[in-house]
Subunit: 147 residues, 10 copies
């Protein structure tokens, strides 16, 4: 089963059962961002997680196997960047990229924030002026090796 | 005074005085990300903020005026995306962009996270397995208008 | 039902019934630009609007459901920009983009015109020298947050 | 005098005199969008208009001559599209381009909205939910010739 | 019937009947360039023209309807520019583009040659040193509006 | 003397003397398109032509020498294609490129229209509905060699 | 029969019969480069050549007809340039392109080497230090027309 | 002395002395293509060759040193490919690239023609139908290693 | 059998048999990188190697034949570069490319490291601070020919 | 002092003193790849290392300070990839990228080889068939976090 077929099967089952990513994540015992990314084909999970997930959605073992396989990531590439919601993150990087570099280096020295040893949470923050989306990204600092 | 000259003057003064963005921000009374982005030429600040900032750095009124002008943003464009630290944010969008879209829409419906009514904090989180960079992005949710 | 299948079904029904977007919009009770964009797969509408629309066109509930789903927008990307009619809007931005920036900032300060809290009308203006197309775009001004 | 030198001279004089594009346009007797685009180097004006404009700004005859010359337009090209305000117009075209095509063709048949026999107004519309930017574009409809 | 299916049907019928574009154009009563461009899916014709054309080629009413529909133009985009014959026109624009701009502006002032109110003829000119291709392009001059 | 310096010298002399390309071409004894392209740096002329041209414009021998040198052509590349006048020729190729290929091949067989053994005229054709620009391109047909 | 189907049929027949391009070319009576390019869909041949070729490969008349049709060339475009063997020719042009221009112009004046009135041979040259590939390209010199 | 300064010095001396690449190459004792490519900054030569070359052109030791330094090659990249003469080699690769691959592999197996252990000659071949440019490229065949 | 079908058959058989590339390579008698690259469609192997490989995986002679055919390499091109693991190699070249050039030239003179007469090993190196990936690339130095 | 000025000063001093990167590295007490990359402006070193380096080369304290500053990396971007030596590493990634992914994942699971906690050695390996370049890359394996 290809990652694309896996993805279609999951999205269809999720829609027909009316489940949210939040709910599925709770049942699998991990974070919503991680579960969603894996179901969209951008991550892999353990056999145990995969079985819980397919059991929640009523899907078969083939889907579970596909969930444990390591994907080639980001195959949709820049094409997705035209969607307005996804573009805003590109814009944040275009406008604030250098600023992020300045402030991380001021606090840590020469290195980067890992995008691999990395977690993200997405929350709805109530606000009388209009609720806000909060993205919390946490990546291990990796210092550049000098050798 | 062009934004580029302003930027050079500020970075030079900051380096020679050995001040951090954190410290400057505290003295100006605003957030480090906002102060740094403005000094790099990607934002504008009020006359009052600009005067506090130039006073901290010992710079003249021309620099203050330049800080209040509205810049053409993101002129360095994609070229900066090759820097490894800045690239990681592009990679996060390539890998997690669709996931962010799914989860924001699940919580809010059709719309986007604003990159304009937007704030960001950058923190160092101590961790025995290696300290972590934490980026907290907060953008107002803007629902797509149906008319 | 995918957005593409939905789109094909609607365009076929519209053609065979000989209905205009103007007429459909009136029956659904919303603006022609909004109705057309939703049918082409770039917007979502309420269940109520979707039912009215499919009733006008004699289409089934699957189409109505597809109309309420949030699409990934702008998937055709730059490829459409080669069509001469669509290119003219790109050209207007190439020639007048900076001018629009100057004048919005003169009237409002640092910020943008929202493309989300946004409406558009397209009208035919009679003119003895040749009728004119009038595009009226209205977007909420969003001031850049200083924090 | 190159168009770039002309532009710099005008922007500097305008800033030092604290004049708005609205005010300058009124004095020259034409529309603000037209005046601003010409001063930025994207249009040409008549000798008479140019003299009025340089008189308002206290600039010399060389600037007036430069204002009457026909420019190579859009030389900054796609690079400006990264500015968030200017990008929103690109995004509107990405999301609504096909819709605009459908509706113009429904009202006029096969052809385009001219970007040459074209005018634009930019207005601030007061609104209790936040003031709005209104762009009104008017272009002559040009039918595709069949021959 | 899609424009692609229409195109395939016409090219097949034309080949099997051994007709030239010249001949078809004469029978339809319009120019060869116009007929050919419409059959390739880049133009639309009147119902009357379409019926004459399908009658010449022995094709059905569906093809005639497709011929009258307004196409999205230039969908093949830059990809065709690699063909050596088509590239030569790109090269002419690369080498002579500025020259054409100079000479049109010298004769007409600020404006463009329309590509919409536009006709083209393609002729074979006999020449003892080798016959020549002659392209005659005629486009209405459109002066830039000053307003 | 570089081609750019030569070009600047010629354009300045031409403007200060108020001469047209038509007039210069007549004095040099060749076509306006050829003279203009050479002065812009895209062609080379004979020593004799160069001397006539510099004599008309009152320029020195260095300019004449530069006019006889073979240039690297099209160095401005795609950047010029954003100018609306120059873009229309790109659009004509996008919309009619395949048509031109069909009709040349119908009349000549497999081969191309030369862009080297090539001439072009640009004329103003009076027309009660608005004067027209006429571009007449003439290129030797070059048959593909079979060997 | 499309050029792609023609190509597949020929490559399959050639492989199953174990024939070389050299052998086929000899039987058809033309050059290996020409035969191979035609079979890959980048050239056209005469009816007579096409019949000889299909007879050698045991293919039907439809293939022969397809071989005589004029193809749209270079449709695979830049994508093939990543293959290491094909890339080396791109690299030779990147490194030696200007040199080739200098030397052709030294010997011939302003003009080009034709890629249409063009032949190429590919030979294996024995060499004790390792055999060498020899490409011999011969193109008619085309002088730039001055008119 | 940078490679660019070296290049300018050599081209100027060569022009003022009226020497051809053929002549210079003979005096240095190597091939014209090699000498020309080195002078343009795409190759390096031995100290002995460099001294001969600077002696022929009357240039100083700094130029000789620059000629022996290893350049970063192909810095002008794709930009040169718009020149018609240089483009023809790109076109040959677009049209014949796959053919070259087929024929080299038929004669040699899996591998490439080296662009490093590589020589090229450029000759004028007299021909009553118009003289021809002949490029002879010779590159060592490098078999792909299997390990 | 196309290279893509071959690839799918091998990956499926490998997964269902639970074999590693290391194991397969040992059975075929060659290096893991070479075996894997050939199975993915980027290399060719001898008939003997192909038979051993298909015997290990229980695949038929068609697969073996496909393994011996010379592929068009790198058809997936830049698209794969978005995968984070594969991107890191691009990043290493962006950051260290010039350094590699400096050091190879210091040790060898003007020339390159061959990517054809080339081998690579990939090893896991145990390390108390976290195991490391070791890539060892070995390419024959090829000196630039001077002729 | 900018990184570019620092780089020029170092390369000039290194050339005039005739020192190798190997020698400099030994004197500074670190690896040649690291020293060279830092001097080219792609890395930063400690104050102590910087002082040793400037002492070896006879450069002043400003250069030492510049060496300790954190650079924006990879600013030359893709432009360098046209150099044949640097391109070979791009080609290796195009041809072997997927293979490297397969083998790292087989040995380590889902994750990447770090390009930050990364070292590289470049060696000359003597070989009777021609000496070989050996690149040894060592990067910490970073497992994708599941959370």
């Amino acid at each position: 089963m290809t990652k694309n077929d896996m993805r279609d099967a999951i999205l269809e089952a999720k829609a027909s059962k009316g489940l949210s990513w939040e709910h599925i994540a709770e049942r699998v015992g991990c974070a919503p961002v991680f579960v969603c990314a894996t179901c969209l084909g951008e991550h892999s999970m353990t056999q145990d997680q995969a079985e819980k997930l397919t059991s929640v959605l009523g899907l078969n073992a083939e889907v579970a196997t596909a969930l444990t396989e390591i994907p080639t990531k980001a195959l949709q590439g820049e094409a997705l960047m035209n969607d307005p919601l996804i573009y805003r993150l590109k814009e944040i990087n275009l406008v604030y990229g250098e600023t992020i570099k300045q402030l991380i280096q001021e606090k840590f020295g020469d290195g980067i924030m890992s995008a691999i040893d990395f977690t993200m949470d997405i929350d709805r923050i109530e606000d009388p002026d209009g609720d806000r989306v909060q993205l919390t990204m946490s990546g291990k600092f990796l210092p550049y090796k000098r050798w």
